[in-house]
């Protein structure tokens, strides 16, 4: 929807070259700052720029989705969220194939839409906070796969 491509890589997690390039650019311009351990923080200038971007109509509607997704970290540990995403139908299939593979292709979207249709049935379509379906979906991925090992590339490092 926003035009960013993602793929499952050898490392086993969804990766976006578009996002990676954006992070690099933001670091270069001082909007993001990396600490000695490599963790990223928003600079004061970055905070101002973010506020400006959020005010633009082209990006305003993205806020709801980003806020909802990030809000899931209030309810679940980030490591658990990452584990859940590894069991998402599109990601899981790519990991099992042991290949670097694009995500969110038409077939991948179809798999997700099946789950989201069930999610709409479970929590309703009109929700005030997208954190709610996000957490329900992530919890579902964890519970439904509880007896299965986390899919992974069993390939050389």
């Amino acid at each position: 929807m926003w035009g960013y491509s993602f793929a499952v890589t050898e490392e086993g997690y969804p990766y976006s070259p578009d996002v990676q390039a954006a992070v690099g650019s933001l670091l270069h311009h001082g909007v993001l700052v990396a600490d000695p351990d490599g963790f990223l923080m928003v600079s004061s200038g970055g905070t101002e720029e973010l506020a400006l971007l959020r005010s633009l109509s082209a990006f305003r509607e993205r806020d709801e989705f980003i806020d909802g997704a990030c809000g899931s970290t209030l309810a679940l540990p980030t490591g658990t969220i990452r584990d859940a995403v590894a069991h998402a139908p599109d990601v899981r299939g790519a990991l099992r194939m042991g290949q670097t593979r694009l995500l969110l292709t038409q077939s991948g979207q179809n798999l997700l839409y099946d789950q989201f249709a069930a999610l709409s049935q479970a929590v309703g379509i009109e929700v005030a906070d997208l954190m709610i379906p996000a957490v329900v979906w992530l919890t579902y991925l964890l519970e439904a796969s509880a007896d299965e090992p986390t899919p992974s590339h069993a390939v050389g490092v």
Partner: protein, 363 residues
């Protein structure tokens, strides 16, 4: 994994997150966000394990007009502008009783330590209520108790207090102290042949790997943790950790030393040589990794689960405490000591697993 709609419906019905909006609409969702933010911030400053009484966090829900439904929890609460000052005031003696933190519409926090306990389900008819106590945590929303999903039940006291570590070294140290030494992790507890924790069961390696993998997945920031990753044709390394947006990679090899009960009912002793074998193995993995992934910055970690006891026999149920703890502070000497001359080889981490107190008798 086939789509199971019933599981999804059950989660939506039983869990607290959807309940907040179902009961109170957008106000409920916002109240829940605010409450979770306060709980997380509070547990960043106090350990929930130290709360021996109970702690509630209550967030009134507005009725859409901006007014809150009235709550009178106690006549003289202490008011704070932030969690930091409140946490300092929420001192240890307070934690043995019942305390309530009320999140006000202004964002200020009222701490009630002298309050008349009320039925929390009733209280939640006009509020989002979080309670920690009685050995667990729960939400009350819209008059009903709601479940909290905890990925590590029995390991961390609260899902909102699961630590996150920036470095693998710090995470391993926490795992060693909090989980291996006491066998507190329900997964790790399965390595023992019985409750005395003197003798390991047959082939405990996989359980040890599962325990550490589960722990690292939960607590490491921005890292992927994968068990049994093939490095060379001989043997998969136990755990591989990669960090997002970096070229850093860690290979973890787990070895145990101690006595395991074989299928035949004999004791299989592993001592220092086993740990040294693990060091050689890990050095080999690092060499293989260097050729296959030369652009990665790789570090090898040898984790040694130490279950050694002195004077064990099959069927031993008790040992003099000096024998049971004989190896508690006895480090393993490595030759070659890879960690002293290989920059890609971290100092081995030995994790001594204590026997059960009941298995120790006076000398």
């Amino acid at each position: 994994m086939m789509l199971d709609v019933e599981i999804m419906m059950r989660i939506a019905r039983e869990q607290y997150v959807p309940a907040a909006e179902a009961a109170f609409g957008a106000s409920g969702a916002q109240a829940l966000r605010n409450s979770l933010t306060v709980v997380r911030a509070l547990y960043g400053r106090i350990e929930p394990e130290l709360i021996t009484g109970s702690l509630c966090v209550v967030h009134r829900v507005t009725d859409g007009s901006g007014r809150s439904l009235p709550l009178e929890l106690s006549p003289n609460p202490q008011r704070f502008t932030g969690v930091e000052m409140l946490a300092a005031a929420y001192a240890a003696p307070t934690r043995t009783g019942m305390a309530v933190i009320e999140v006000l519409p202004s964002g200020q926090l009222d701490l009630h330590v002298d309050w008349e306990p009320v039925d929390l389900a009733d209280l939640s008819r006009g509020a989002v209520v979080y309670e920690y106590g009685g050995g667990g945590e729960r939400f009350f929303i819209g008059g009903e108790e709601k479940a909290i999903y905890n990925p590590s039940p029995g390991i961390h006291a609260s899902v909102y207090a699961i630590p996150t570590f920036r470095t693998l070294t710090a995470a391993l140290e926490d795992y060693k102290i909090r989980f291996v030494s006491t066998s507190q992790c329900p997964i790790f507890a399965g390595v023992w042949s019985n409750e005395t924790r003197l003798i390991l069961r047959n082939k405990p390696e996989e359980t040890m790997r599962q325990s550490l993998t589960h722990f690292l997945k939960t607590v490491l920031r921005s890292a992927e943790v994968r068990p049994e990753q093939v490095v060379d044709e001989s043997h998969p390394v136990d755990i591989k950790v990669t960090w997002l947006f970096t070229t850093r990679l860690a290979l973890i090899e787990i070895k145990w030393v101690g006595d395991a009960l074989t299928k035949e009912g004999n004791l299989l002793p592993y001592r220092d040589a086993r740990a040294k074998e693990g060091a050689d193995q890990l050095a080999g993995y690092l060499d293989a990794n260097a050729s296959q992934a030369p652009t990665h910055e790789s570090i090898g970690y040898l984790v040694v689960i130490d279950a050694r006891r002195r004077g064990l026999d099959v069927g031993t149920e008790q040992l003099p405490i000096s024998d049971a703890m004989w190896y508690a502070d006895r480090e393993i000497e490595y030759d070659p000591a890879y960690h002293t001359f290989r920059p890609d080889f971290a100092e081995p981490v030995r994790m001594f697993a204590n026997p059960a107190l009941s298995a120790c008798k006076p000398d």
